[in-house]
């Protein structure tokens, strides 16, 4: 698993990566009440705001962690946004994407580096 400074996790699965938000991020956001995901097939650029989430407190954006194309989105979290609070690192993944340059994964943080960031 790799991590971004935007508190996303990326997990390789075949030729795509699964993307979600970390437990730390989910806890900080509070209970989610709304999730809007991008359309499958969308070409995204690193840093582009592609997901909207709203918690009981406020609205926030989730950005594309790297360049690539969205291949699948998780309708389960649109139907039940609090799933993100309950299981952010497994069942409540956000989207899958095919990376433009898979080697860019190497530039992301590993778990130890992410833990150091949030401590």
């Amino acid at each position: 698993m790799k991590y971004t400074e935007e508190h996303e996790w990326l997990k390789p699965e075949g030729d795509v990566v699964i993307v979600g938000i970390t437990q730390h991020a989910a806890d900080a956001l509070g209970e989610l009440v709304f999730v809007e995901l991008p359309d499958v097939g969308t070409e995204v650029e690193k840093g582009e705001e592609i997901v909207v989430i709203e918690s009981v407190k406020a609205a926030s954006d989730i950005t594309a962690p790297l360049d690539g194309e969205i291949t699948e989105v998780n309708q389960a979290i649109v139907d039940a946004p609090t799933l993100v609070n309950e299981d952010p690192t497994a069942a409540a993944w956000f989207f899958k994407m095919k990376l433009k340059d898979p080697s860019e994964m190497d530039g992301l943080m590993d778990e130890d580096a992410y833990k150091a960031l949030i401590d």
Binding site: G30, E31, V33, F34, E36, V52, E54, K57, A58, A59
Partner: protein, 376 residues
């Protein structure tokens, strides 16, 4: 948070795992480990305990000793019939300004020989100065600094409080009473800010944590933070001063005409005589150009304060703005309130809110969004 004040219940909040945030100059609990959503639902299902000690508690005593003099004096600042308020009764009120806007909203109780007021935390210094300036000739204004204020709200509030003080079950909505409990003098009213039955209780600061711990020891009770307090009052259709009402909104625009009794309206026994009465009474007669309404978004996206409203998906003419909005855990959908041009204020009218550059439909709805549960 060095410059922030703490309420007498600060240690209680810390002990209960509260997340504390700055609010109106105080360090206040925004949520406890239960979380905003579950705190909200618990309060509607059972009983929630709130620390509202940051609010201002003020006594108005008539120098003559005759309560009517205090009532008449206060009536020069508020458009309510204070003289008709019987001993042991409370009513909702607001201070108006010369333009007919609202300076603050408050509760006023008649306690026999004096009035007891509860005002908003963020406005309390201004309110007190306002009253001292205008009422000091006939009244003594004293600010209560040595008392905490708590609210116990929800369908089980009565059983929880009456298990300690049986007579509390006899109070009706908006009754107020002073009662001794275990050596403490409690000032209790049957009222609140959630749309639920419940009580607001002023307790001596020195006894506050002892009393609150006793309430919280009841399994039916959970402490509730400011986060759920906001979603509860929003579902209850209740205004938040600074958001839904302020110096630029009149009572007629704010759909608060129900709070202005006949005696103070045109042809009433004491017509007018409050700041901005000309403008407010004219609006009673002719209507206002905009009105506060409830709004139910058709989709799942919350529409929050500041969101602009339009007549259609494409129209460039703004017809209003949302002043409070979020997710309503009991309604299980987003809920909002805001101001729209009066022609769009009929129930069922579809309007469009601009959320992140998209026009999303919402329908004007009656408020409260959940049925009020008062014990009348």
């Amino acid at each position: 948070m060095a410059d922030l004040l703490r309420t007498p219940l600060y240690d209680f909040h810390v002990k209960n795992g509260a997340k504390l945030v700055p609010f109106a100059g105080y360090e206040m609990p925004v949520q406890y480990p239960l979380g905003v959503m579950n705190e909200h639902k618990h309060c509607r299902a059972s009983a929630g305990l709130f620390d509202v000690s940051h609010m201002g508690q003020v006594l108005i005593k008539p120098k003559s000793g005759n309560i009517e003099d205090a009532c008449l004096a206060l009536e020069t600042l508020v458009p309510m019939d204070i003289c008709a308020l019987k001993p042991g009764r409370q009513r909702y009120a607001f201070f108006t300004n010369d333009e007919g806007g609202i300076l603050d909203d408050l509760m006023v109780a008649n306690r026999g020989d004096h009035l007891f007021l509860v005002v908003n935390a963020a406005c309390k210094d201004a309110d007190i100065a306002h009253m001292q300036k205008h009422l000091s000739e006939t009244c003594e204004i004293s600010v209560i600094e040595d008392r905490a204020l708590i609210a116990l709200q929800g369908p089980d509030a009565e059983s929880v409080l009456s298990s300690l003080i049986p007579s509390m079950a006899d109070l009706k909505f908006m009754d107020v009473v002073i009662v001794d409990y275990d050596g403490m003098e409690l000032w209790v009213s049957r009222s609140g800010y959630t749309g639920e039955d419940g009580y607001e209780i002023s307790v001596p600061a020195d006894n506050a944590s002892q009393f609150v711990t006793k309430l919280a020891d009841n399994d039916l009770v959970e402490p509730i933070g400011l986060g759920a307090r906001d979603s509860l009052r929003l579902e209850g259709g209740l205004c938040l001063y600074g958001n839904d009402i302020d110096e630029s909104t009149t009572p007629v625009e704010a759909a608060l005409t129900w709070a202005i009794q006949k005696a103070r309206r045109a042809d009433g026994a004491r017509e007018g005589g409050f700041p901005g009465s000309d403008k407010i009474l004219a609006q009673f007669e002719n209507g206002a150009e905009r009105k506060r309404v409830g709004l139910l978004p058709e989709g799942r996206a919350p529409m929050r304060a500041g969101t602009k409203l339009f007549a259609s998906e494409t129209s460039s003419d703004e017809i209003g703005e949302i002043t409070s909005g979020g997710f309503g855990p009991s309604v299980n959908s987003p809920v909002s309130m805001g101001y729209v041009s009066t022609e769009f204020s009929d129930e069922g009218t579809q309007v469009f809110a601009e959320v992140r550059g998209k026009r999303l439909p919402a329908n004007v709805s009656k408020m409260p969004f959940v049925a009020a549960n008062f014990k009348r």
